[in-house]
Structures are given as structure tokens and as C-alpha cells.
């Protein structure tokens, strides 16, 4: 079921070339393999044919219909933070196979090759409009952005780092939910990240959750929904159970916009729907407002 969600746009999931070993990857600078490939791309939203260069110029959104293409974690960070300010944290933190789940290692290897990442989230320190922040971006191409122990640990550490350093945390979510292959340990990542978040709450440090397509299951039912401010990209799917599950439970069909960012805005679940081209500006304003010292501290 969740797989369908991703298959909708499977033509843009990059396939690994197998040219390099997983170990060689973290040292690599910004990658280009986590964005739509080929000279010409067909838009999923309106069918328009778009030149790759043009698509890049529009931050991987369709200039015709505003459809937001899926992008990987590194591209996401690159188009968000001030140029050259990103310093990755916990880059070597990786998954193992705690339950001895069949074919888990193979799936991890394939995901590594496909995304050029060691795990499904990238975290680090950066600046946004000159304000020091902690940033994280989940990668929808790494096993559907699913959250296992390593993803949970990287996010928990990013939260603790934000709390200690009093830097706002900006976290882009994209996830099918908890990772099946780690069973109950995956479920416990929802608990772990929530516990880590209490450090930020106590330290009164801003947490902005940015919902990107798709954010569902255990991630939507934990930190993605716990931002002080929650913004979402247009059309991003954000919900607990997938459309098909809900349809089967209810035995009736659902509205076309079910679980989209716009649906969530109308139902009070998110603060804003923000176009990718305005995202930097919106996040910048929010971190500035939350780090301004104000009059009480002397002007």
C-alpha cells in the first residue's frame, strides 16, 4: 500500500550505477543523483515536457502547474541553507540488521547505491539567512524514507544538538513511516525522537517541521506533527494511514485532495502551505523572529 504511494512517481527514483562502494560516499560533496534525471522530464502534474536545466532553475517545480518534484536530502539542504555553510553531523552513523530480517542488508545496499547516502536522513549545522540553525532532511528515495534505528538516532542527535546550541531545528520530513525490517525497534524511534524533542521544548528552541511528499505513518504520528511551526509543500501528502487503508476501512471513496497539504491546512493540522520557491524566505523569517533578542534585552 505504501509502496503505491512511491510508485506513483517511480520514474524519478534514481537507479544506482553500482560504480562505487557505499563506503566511498559520505566524503562526496553535493550530489546530483537525487534529482530527476535525463535531458527532458515529463511533469507528473500536467504532463508538460520540461528541460532538466529549466527544472533545476525552478527548484524542481513545474513552471506550468507548480507540481513539486521529489528531491533528495542533499539537494534539499543545498537549496535551503546559505551557500557553503552546511557541516554534516553523524555522517558515518549507519543501520545494521538487528532482527536478522531477510534481505534487509540487500535493500540497504540498494538504497545506498540509489541515493548516494548511508542512511535516509541527512543532518548537520548550517546557516539560514545568516542565522545558525540545525538542519535535517529525510530522503524519500532511501527505502521510502522509512525510519529505522539509524534514522531515529540521527534525528534525535540533531534535536539534542539544537537544544544544547540553542539553534532552531529545521527538519524536512519525507517518509512512509517506521521501517518494517526493524520491527518494534522502528516503532521505538517514534518514542526516542519524542523524548529527544523534550530537550528542545525545555530549552525553548524553535522546531520547524517541513512536510514534503509524502509524510505518513510513524513519522507523521511523531516528530513531523510536533513542530512549533509546521509548514508543507503544495500537494504534499501528510497523514497517518494511507488512502487505500482509509478507503477500505470506511468502504467509501475519498475526496481527491484527501491528505494533501491543502487538505491539512483546511483541517487545522499545519500552519502554512509554502511553495518551494518561497520556502527559504519563509523559514528565514521564522528563524529570525525566533532568535531576535527584543527590547527587553536592551536595544
Amino acid at each position: 500500500m505504501l509502496k503505491d504511494l512511491f510508485n506513483r512517481r517511480r520514474q524519478y527514483v534514481t537507479v544506482g550505477t553500482g560504480e562505487e562502494a557505499p563506503e566511498a560516499r559520505p566524503a562526496r560533496p553535493a550530489v546530483e543523483r537525487d534529482v530527476p534525471k535525463g535531458l527532458v522530464q515529463k511533469c507528473d502534474g500536467c504532463g508538460a515536457l520540461l528541460l532538466a536545466k529549466e527544472l533545476q532553475k525552478h527548484l524542481y517545480t513545474c513552471p506550468e502547474c507548480n507540481h513539486h518534484f521529489r528531491i533528495g536530502a542533499r539537494t534539499r539542504i543545498e537549496i535551503t541553507v546559505d551557500e557553503g555553510t552546511f557541516r554534516e553531523m553523524d555522517a558515518r552513523l549507519a543501520s545494521t540488521n538487528p532482527l536478522g530480517f531477510p534481505q534487509y542488508e540487500e535493500k540497504l545496499e540498494a538504497a545506498m547505491r540509489a541515493t548516494g547516502l548511508l542512511e535516509g536522513v541527512v543532518t548537520g549545522e548550517a546557516e539560514l539567512d545568516g542565522v545558525p540553525i540545525i538542519i535535517g532532511a529525510m530522503d524519500p528515495g532511501f527505502m521510502m524514507g522509512s525510519m529505522g534505528s539509524a534514522v531515529g538516532e540521527r534525528i534525535a542527535r540533531a534535536m539534542e544538538r539544537a537544544a544544547e546550541s540553542k539553534r532552531p531545528l529545521v527538519l524536512f520530513t519525507a517518509s512512509g513511516g517506521a521501517r518494517m525490517q526493524e520491527g518494534i525497534l522502528s516503532l521505538m524511534q517514534m518514542a526516542k525522537t519524542s523524548v529527544a524533542l523534550t530537550r528542545m521544548v525545555e530549552a525553548r528552541v524553535l522546531f520547524i517541521s517541513v512536510i514534503t511528499h509524502p509524510t505518513t505513518g510513524g513519522v507523521s504520528a511523531s516528530f513531523a506533527s510536533l513542530g512549533d511551526v509546521i509548514v508543507a509543500e503544495p500537494g504534499a501528502m501528510f497523514g497517518f494511514a494511507g488512502r487505500r487503508v482509509v478507503e477500505q476501512t470506511m468502504r467509501q471513496s475519498l475526496p481527491d485532495d484527501f491528505q494533501t497539504a491543502e487538505f491539512n491546512l483546511k483541517h487545522g493540522m499545519i500552519d502554512k502551505v509554502v511553495h518551494r520557491k518561497q520556502m527559504r524566505q519563509t523559514l528565514g523569517a521564522l528563524v529570525r523572529i525566533h532568535t531576535a533578542r527584543g527590547w527587553a534585552h536592551g536595544e
Binding site: K266, H267, G268, I270, D271, A285, H290, R293, A296
Partner: protein, 319 residues
């Protein structure tokens, strides 16, 4: 003035006459300046006497005029930077109560207020300023967020009352307002509210327990809208003007009754006559109020807030 009120009509007519005379003068190159001067003098007197002697009902009508600055207008004037935030995280995003975070000359603030429409179409979307429970719950969420990050909260009040409908009852209009009252009573940041137009009942108070409360000169604030009071007391909503006379709902009344702290002057004839001036004036007053509140330790503010509301009401103890 396209939407002048009955009692403003003589002023509008005189204005039209002056304009007519002026254009006649220009067209025919005749000097009637003496006549124009005389009429303009009369216009000034008429305007002053009309607005100096407003009845409470006329004030209620003025407070409802379309064209008065709305909460978003005040926010634009107040904040150098502002991000609107949406949703109660439970059921819906109410479009009547709006809010967000911003900076006033470098000071972070949260601003929350009732948003009326600036035309009929927007008024329908904004439910004519009558909020649903989700609006009060969004306000509560934003207040708690402000408290967490230690920034003051500014409220703009302009509502005929909270929405009275079955859906609102089903989702707990009462408890939504009630929880705001409790939260505002104990909110550990400075708070300031301004009644900019209509202060209708619990729907207004739901954003109005604050360290300072100001009122625009022509605004009204009361336990209920005068027509509704007339409908309840005398079974006739048309007796609203009579109810307005006796209910003591003008800014001056509320200052005398010790409910508000300050009246903010409006341009002659009301904020709608010069919205820009009004917005600037409100910014000036808010900045002054905030500076004062921010200089007081929060525990002292809370103690003062407690006593201020604890002593509301007039009574005797009989021997």
C-alpha cells in the same frame, strides 16, 4: 462616501454640493470662492457637531462600518516582518480568528485577532467576524507558543460575538472560550488587547483578558450586541438603539467602569475616514504599551493582572 450612515447624510450632501459648485466654477470660469468658503465653514461645523454628539447607537453603527482598518491592516502597520500561522491542530483552520508571529522594531511578538471582511465576499469567508471554536483553539495554541518563546501577545478584538450555530455547539464553543480565559489569566508573557470595532460578548473576551486593554474611540464592548439584548429583554431586535442607550457600551463608559485602560482617539468620523492615520496611531500606542509592560517583571504583571480582574464588578455588602 458610498456607505454613509443616515445621520451622516447631511454631511455627505453638503460635501457633494461643494464639489458641484467647485466644478461649476472651473467650467464656467466664474469666481464663487466666497460661496465655497462659506459652505466649507458650514461643513466643518456640521461635521464637528455631528460627531461630537454621537448617540451610543450611532457609535455602534460607526464601529461596524466597512472600511475601518481590520486586524490584518493593523498587523501590516505594526510588524516589520510577519508570518501568519494557521490551524488548531484538531479540526480546522478558522478564518475568523487570525494570528502569527512578527517583529516590531526588533521585538518578537505574537499577534492574534478577529478578522472581518473588507467586502461582502470576504465577510462571508470570515463568517462576519464570528469565530468558531477552532478559532479560539488556534488562538490558544499561538498564546502557548508565545509563552514558550517568551514574546508578548497583542490581541485585536472586533467581533459581533462568537458564532452561535449547531456546529459550534457540537465542537464546544463554550469550553473553547473558557479555556482561553483561564490560559490568558495565567499566561507568563505580557499581553495587550485593543477593541478596534465591535467587542461582542464572550467572543470578544475570549481574546481579551490582558495586562492592558485599549479601545478605539468609536468601538463598543458589551455583554451582548444591543439588538440581541433587545431581542432577549424586550422580544424585539428593532429596539437595539434603545438598548444601546442603556447598556453603557461606549469606550468612555468602559473607561469610567474601570474595564479598559485607555481610549485611542480616532479621526473625526471614525477610523474608516483615515485608515492609514489610524493604523499609525495604533502602532504608536501599542509600542508605548509594550515598552512599559516589558519593563515590568512577569510575576508582578501576573499579580497585577490577577487583582485587576479580581476586582471587576460593583456590589455592596448589606449589614
Amino acid at each position: 462616501m458610498a456607505n454613509e450612515l443616515d445621520f451622516e447624510r447631511p454631511i455627505a450632501e453638503l460635501k457633494a454640493k461643494i464639489a458641484e459648485l467647485k466644478s461649476f466654477m472651473e467650467k464656467n470660469e466664474i469666481d464663487l470662492q466666497g460661496e465655497v468658503d462659506k459652505l466649507e465653514e458650514r461643513l466643518k461645523e456640521l461635521t464637528e457637531s455631528t460627531y461630537a454628539n454621537l448617540t451610543p447607537w450611532q457609535r455602534v453603527q460607526l464601529a461596524r462600518q466597512i472600511g475601518r482598518p481590520t486586524t490584518f491592516d493593523y498587523i501590516r502597520g505594526l510588524c516589520d516582518e510577519f508570518v501568519e500561522l494557521h490551524g488548531d491542530r484538531h479540526f480546522a483552520d478558522d478564518l475568523t480568528i487570525v494570528g502569527g508571529v512578527g517583529l516590531i522594531a526588533g521585538q518578537p511578538v505574537t499577534v492574534i485577532g478577529h478578522q472581518k471582511g473588507r467586502d461582502t465576499k470576504e465577510n462571508i469567508r470570515r463568517n462576519f467576524g464570528m469565530a468558531n471554536p477552532e478559532g479560539y483553539r488556534k488562538a490558544l495554541r499561538l498564546m502557548k507558543q508565545a509563552e514558550k518563546f517568551g514574546r508578548p501577545v497583542i490581541f485585536f478584538i472586533d467581533t459581533p460575538g462568537a458564532y452561535a450555530g449547531m456546529s459550534a455547539e457540537e465542537r464546544g464553543q463554550s469550553v473553547a472560550i473558557a479555556e482561553n480565559l483561564l490560559a490568558m489569566a495565567g499566561l507568563r508573557v505580557p499581553t495587550l488587547s485593543i477593541v478596534t470595532g465591535e467587542g461582542g460578548s464572550g467572543g470578544a473576551l475570549g481574546l481579551g483578558i490582558t495586562d492592558r486593554i485599549y479601545m478605539l474611540d468609536y468601538a463598543w464592548y458589551c455583554v451582548i450586541a444591543p439588538e440581541s439584548a433587545a431581542a432577549i429583554l424586550w422580544k424585539d431586535a428593532k429596539l437595539g438603539p434603545k438598548a444601546a442607550e442603556v447598556m453603557r457600551l461606549t469606550a468612555k463608559d468602559l473607561l469610567d467602569l474601570g474595564v479598559i485602560d485607555r481610549i485611542i482617539e480616532e479621526p473625526m468620523g471614525g477610523a474608516q475616514k483615515d485608515p492609514e492615520w489610524m493604523v499609525r496611531k495604533v502602532r504608536e500606542v501599542v509600542v508605548e504599551g509594550l515598552r512599559e509592560l516589558l519593563s515590568v517583571p512577569i510575576d508582578e504583571l501576573l499579580e497585577a493582572r490577577y487583582h485587576k480582574y479580581r476586582q471587576m464588578g460593583i456590589y455592596v455588602e448589606r449589614p
